[in-house]
Amino acid sequence: MIGVFHPGTSVVHRAPALLKLALLAAFVTATALVVSLPWLGAASVVVALLFLVARVPARAALRQIVPILWLLAFAMPVQVLFGGWEAAGVMALRLVIAVALAAVYTLTTPVSATLDAMQTLLRPLRRWIDADRVGLALALAIRCVPLLADLVREVMEARKARGSEGSLLSLAVPVIVRSLRTAEHLGEALTARGFDD
């Protein structure tokens, strides 16, 4: 979800996040219920059309979908062995369609729109759940992924420079210590920006 948002002005971009989330849920559920290959084939055409309408560059789209193909490379043979070709094909198509649809969503929706949608969804539960806080927690979780990735990279570099590669401890200890310090700093920054309750 991080940094994959691809700004644009297509219908897919402009559709409200809540609507897109609802359609995403409905479509994925439908593909999970459909068992016939022709119907799933038609569904994949629809998904491909969505990518075209959203004008997402092919490379950005593929980067989202390729990882699931690796998984399928292992799962397909097993499925063929136990359930036959057709069952395997249905499973594979379902998975690819689901992942591709999710990719359309993340590529065309800024994170803040998703957060707003989440908060709207949580509003009926406001007696029990503070939607602002849930939204903030989600935003922070998303923000921390690149932060942590950088941190791990820096520690690995430092480890290499000191010639202590290979030891798991020499990676884990500094990463954990620095993550905690980063968390403290982020907390401080949030407080300074007035989000201190």
């Binding site: 940094g3 948002f5 994170v111 803040s112 935003a139 950088d150 700093h185 920054a189 007035g194």
Partner: protein
């Protein structure tokens, strides 16, 4: 009454005293604080918006006691950290600037206008939809500044805002600081950043050892560290 007042302020980190009985009345528009690592200058700056509470004494901002009315004080004081990475909360540039205004409950159009103005002021308009973590160090600090100033605080406190930047970006940030209308308190090791300030305070071992116009105070600091 506007301004920042320290009244007999001390602070201990565990058994260690990092700020020792500091009394200051800061009313000048631009105040610099210098001192060696561990001299207590960052702690002093953090006490202005209540990130650190004094162990003894009290800090007043515009007449408000920081320990008692921390939230009201933070609304007046914008804080810029050394490492902008820790200050950026949202995934994209525009979202991070807009994030500051979430608590202000402005209507959507109003908020968007202010965000756009802040982005334009710091030259970030083109980068608005970029992921914040892919910006350069200088751009990140500009984003941090934009996110602080979009709230229009009356006072801006910056803790070594240019330490992680190269010379060109440091100068750029310094120029933005020079243009601010706000009262400004800057902690820095980069003495040239403070040369045209109105007042410079030198800290050493938690105490104020010099407090004067930059020419005099910075000279005292140079003698101290040489």
């Amino acid at each position: 009454m506007s301004g920042i007042v320290f009244e007999g302020v001390s602070h201990d980190f565990g058994a260690e005293r990092v700020v020792e009985d500091v009394s200051l009345d800061l009313r000048e528009r631009r105040v610099g604080i210098v001192g060696a690592n561990g001299s207590g200058k960052s702690t002093l700056a953090r006490m202005i918006n209540g990130l650190v509470a004094p162990t003894a004494g009290r800090v007043l901002v515009d007449g408000l006691d920081v320990s008692r009315e921390a939230r009201a004080v933070r609304r007046r004081v914008g804080f810029v950290f050394t490492n902008a990475d820790n200050q950026i909360v949202m995934p994209t540039v525009r979202e991070d600037v807009a994030f500051t205004l979430r608590r202000h409950r402005l209507d959507r159009a109003d908020a968007a206008t202010r965000v756009d103005a802040a982005l334009a002021r710091f030259g970030l308009t083109e980068l608005a939809d970029r992921p914040a973590h892919r910006l350069s160090g200088g751009q990140k600090q500009l984003l941090a500044l934009a996110s602080v100033l979009v709230a229009e605080p009356g006072i801006v406190v910056a803790d070594e805002p240019t330490t992680l930047l190269d010379a060109r970006n440091a100068r750029r940030i310094a120029r933005y600081f020079a243009d601010l209308d706000q009262q400004l308190v800057v902690v820095s090791h980069q003495l040239e950043l403070l040369e045209d300030f109105d007042r410079v305070i030198v800290m050493e071992h938690g105490r104020v050892v010099a407090d004067d116009v930059p020419g005099v105070a910075l000279e005292a600091y140079r003698t101290l560290i040489s």
